[in-house]
Symmetry: D2
Subunit: 390 residues, 4 copies
């Protein structure tokens, strides 16, 4: 039961409706919540609201709980509502009255936002590392394929000659821009909201900057409306920034699948990255590429979900905000595993240089021929037309 | 391991990436898959490909497996890929060579589509029942509140007098239109795709109409492109039809929350349908209404996900199609639990007739006064202007 | 100036903000609005609120205005707000006091909804005809290519042999399902909302069924909440139904572009349906197919726009509802022109039978070989595995 | 006719389909395109491909064309395709052979992207100024309402006391974060793509950094895949960044409409910012607020459109990319006019201090009372429970 004594007569069907998915989300967020409560207890201690000794006992209990949570050992029942309750219950059970002291001046509204931002910063960091690895891997491949000529396509038709390394380098550049977007997202959530409480400021004054510092935030939120009204915006923002990377993954997978057809034959996937058919013995399907292609759509769907839920809502915390947790978590999980899978696919990719070279046709030099004529004195448009009729 | 021997060297990370979520979805779809395989075995028996006795043994094994699956006892490992493999593995383990015979002429492509359609028909039926219950409940309330006068609002401003029953009846009408949309969705998926195999027709000819009939489908798919290319479309269609009902739920919840504010005070939620605050002892929050409001956005997000994933894909089965299972299942689960919760909320809702009556102000009669003047001979627009300046 | 005298001091910037786009939409809807007002005047006449002679004069004026509007001659200024005002102003200018009588018992809320439904029914009819033409054309092509063998693909890899006619027939089937969805959409909006006024019923009682009948509606709306709250839902519904057809167009275009690459070479577009490059003289780009591919995304965007705008809004007319006009009109225009363009492309399409036949490879018979072995007595899965290792 | 002689036999229906909307977009982008061509001509001059004198004549012609375009005087016919053709045609008509020289080494692909980025930088600048004005105005209002107490709401229920200035300050903070997002978007598109031509590099080598510098870009694109594959991503990014500001506008409008109801009565809109009803003489509707509320959904729809169109497309320029121009332009136009309208609304807003003060109820002090008890020694959770039962 929620420690504040509500919900006790709520039908189980409603409890499940309200808390079911949220408890799953909060099992994932629980470690970060422990960190937040610990830093908050530090603030209470500094202010003299709990003693040094009470703080130490809280700290030990929270560290232990965080450890169990990281191992996935803590399950949250629907009657407990959320991770905040789990922690307060846990501290009361372990420490008695001390546990009852810790929620003073804090609301679940600022606490949940703080937990989410901490989680986002951690996961954005993981994502950045993977994107960085993709950049490095692509640059390695780039350096190996400087001379691997192949057709460049526009409108899905042969356009001009290019190299496989040019394609790799292009995606390295795109991922580098994604890195900047990921860094922007970090700066966007790098505000500690503790002290804004339910959205109208706290009833007690702690050293909010010190608490923020403890948690690794570089700035604090000055205003509760600013904090609570940014929650859905930043959920959408983070999904969107992840989507930027997934859009690149989508396009790489699309290109590679085209080049992996029997008709193009430019690349071949490692056997271990293809799957079979239940009916056609000969098949080697590029399922991993197809799943990579699908990731962008999934993340876009989660972004959309957050935007739909939040549009036209009034200021301040609304329960609907809870429903951005699961899409956000899913968006991170999809993005991270997709980047990992992409790295595996690229590492095992075989390039068929001969097929690429054979696909270069004479007509693909038409732009160059027109330009050469133009450099020789013929106005470019006339040179172009002369090649067209040729 | 997938029975056809592929994937055996695939890194676990990739297996998890490919099959992780799908195995969860297939645990839910497994009972329907058992039904499909059973009907298919019936077709093989009629054709003489398996014997009467082999069919009986398959039947027993499939019924038992379906039972376990309905109880949630069957977990699908990522190395097994999906429910199709689980079934074939199970039959081989139980029945030896007989089990190895059953996949002839069938692909996972037509099988999965058939399973999904069976699942959708069952869940659309459940949804229809709940919507019908909502219509009935609203009509009951309508009949109790014929005389409960209240303001009608446009642009969120007092417009003209109306009654609470008029509001209830309006939503009953909306849900009745949703019922028609749900019925349309049933007819949309009421085609048995078995016999289209991988998408290009089966290598053997069974009595497809008989099999369809056995499974409760009224029509069969004549063409594999038609079948496979409709999968994502119908996933989106079903989400959209569910969304139609959720849009009504969204609007009812929005109205009720407005009327539940201290300022309006027209309705009061049953105590058991509100929750408390961790910091403010006095709070009774309408969390259930907020969660109902959020459901439309969630379903819209899943619809969007399916549309994003499928846009710009070529014909035929692509692995990306697998990724419409989870959003579809989620859309059903959200819609069904939301309708159940709505019924509970409406049953416990208290109407404050006095507050509603008190909110009727004199200016709200202006349209009637203008009309009365017009009926008395003054051209309407002049009557209107005379009331405006009044 | 709006005839009811408001807005006269509104800054032009705000007038433009409120009415700018809406006036463009209403120029398109004006002919349908004339029809609605004419039928309404008929109701006023029957009730004796205007005389037979007044009705005749209104009729003449409205028919003339409708004619001018159909020719695109009527421009609506932002200070006039909308087509409703244009009509009332026009009638007052032409007929004096008679014109001032016609708006009694009517609100712009029910009028606008009625106009939109009339417009939708007309445009759904046009769309249906085009889809029907696509079905016919595809069936003609089907009958010509019964023997045009080609590879069938799954996962973008060669799967099993099929024919070009099988592909055509598959899309004919898909469009036939779209026709059913279009018909459902017609039935969904086939309710005349006149008489619900601002959303709370009319101050006068006309023969609503007779008016509905005059306008070609088969049913009437009984309830103003039902009417006003369905507006955004049906806007989304119609976009979604159009999207179903556009999804098929999207997939056809995607397939054809793949087959139009130099590497596949299965089809060739008519020269008149391709465009050139400004830099590469040799290029013939399938721009028409690319634009067809883009149409689905555009319509999906408009559907999404309507859903985003309407989510979380309270009951009754809100000005936001106005903003579903333009996306709805755009969705129709895109869908209709895309279907027209598709027909032109299909008519000019050249099929390269030889290239198709040459692309059939021996391995594509593996499923048949396994099935044949199985029919000869070997359990299917063993037959399959024997072909795999072969 | 397109200068390169294609399309001359294309049916008018297809020309309209391909170019209709694009020509409207390009009329808006034409001034920026003139700037791009001028800078490019500068590069050709430096390289000696055109003479100093030819450059001067090009410059004069381009400046004149830009001027006409800024005045909206240039209409682009569908047979001309786009602004690039208009410019080349214009220069050829004015300057003969000199005009035929200027497209050497350039494709419409890099040119269009360059034009779009220039346009975006200009419009992002305008948006930033308006957001900055909103911050300033909100801070002015903040300073005037330090003592204007009012209820703070969570879950749409009275929560804790706050002030009107706290609300204003919260939105000022939110807009300040939006400014950072707008600045990030500027940096995201601040790469000159000239020199990447059709996507595979130019056939001639100009001083790309110098050209970029001339156009005000701080960086250049090194890779054609990087350039072309970022086009749809940055279209989506800019819509999303605009949406961030529109989400704040959406929430402000939603709050103000709630407070503008007769029941709340906290604020009153300036008479000049409300509109009337055609049937109810007494109405003053907050149409401007409703339109402001709708803007977020509209921009979200355009973002979605771009994402839908681009997902699952292969690398390099595809005609579908053209279709991001109109949604992008619309998103800017909506955002800019909405911010302007918001400023007008806020300037005319009347605050009803008395109504706000009267709405403060005794129960709203419960959190403070519990905290005070806790500071006095009672563990917080017990203090809380004591207030709950009170």
């Amino acid at each position: 039961m929620a420690i504040w004594g509500s919900n006790k007569n709520m039908p189980r069907k409603l409890l499940e409706f309200l808390n079911g998915k949220n408890c799953k989300a909060d099992e994932i967020l629980l470690p970060h919540n422990c960190k937040v409560v610990l830093a908050y207890c530090g603030g209470l201690k500094t202010k003299g609201i709990i003693t040094e000794e009470e703080f130490s006992r809280c700290k030990a209990a929270l560290i232990e709980l965080e450890g169990s949570a990281r191992l996935g050992k803590i399950k949250i029942g629907i009657e407990e509502e959320d991770s905040h309750t789990v922690i307060e219950n846990h501290l009361i059970q372990m420490l008695g009255d001390t546990g009852k002291k810790i929620h003073i001046g804090k609301s679940r509204n600022d606490e949940a936002l703080c937990v989410l931002r901490l989680y986002c910063k951690e996961k954005l960091g993981e994502t950045k590392n993977l994107v960085l690895n993709a950049v490095k891997l692509l640059e390695e491949i780039t350096s190996k394929h400087k001379d691997t000529e192949m057709p460049g396509y526009t409108h899905m038709k042969k356009a001009m000659p290019t190299t496989f390394s040019y394609w790799c380098k292009g995606f390295a550049n795109l991922f580098e821009k994604d890195l900047k977007a990921l860094e922007f997202a970090v700066s966007y959530v790098d505000y500690c909201p503790l002290g804004t409480a339910a959205g109208f400021g706290s009833t007690i004054k702690l050293d909010w900057k010190q608490i923020a510092n403890e948690l690794g935030f570089s700035k604090i939120e000055e205003n509760g409306y600013g904090a609570q009204n940014s929650r859905m915006k930043e959920g959408a923002m983070i999904c969107f920034v992840l989507l930027q990377a997934m859009m690149d993954v989508n396009k790489m997978a699309t290109d590679l699948m085209l080049w992996n057809t029997e008709e193009f034959g430019f690349v071949k996937l490692s056997k271990d990255a293809t799957t079979g058919s239940s009916i056609m013995p000969h098949k080697n399907n590029p399922d991993v590429l197809e799943m990579l292609r699908a990731s962008a759509g999934k993340v876009a769907g989660y972004q959309h979900q957050i935007q739909m839920i939040s549009n036209n809502l009034p200021s301040g915390y609304n329960k609907d905000h809870q429903e951005m947790k699961m899409p956000l978590i899913e968006a991170f999980e999809i993005s991270i595993v997709s980047l990992e899978a992409l790295l595996l696919v690229l590492e095992g990719l075989k390039i068929n240089k001969e097929a690429m070279a054979n696909a270069l046709t004479e007509e693909m030099g038409s732009a160059k021929r027109a330009a050469d004529l133009a450099l020789g004195g013929k106005p470019f448009r006339e040179a172009y037309l002369s090649q067209k009729s040729a």
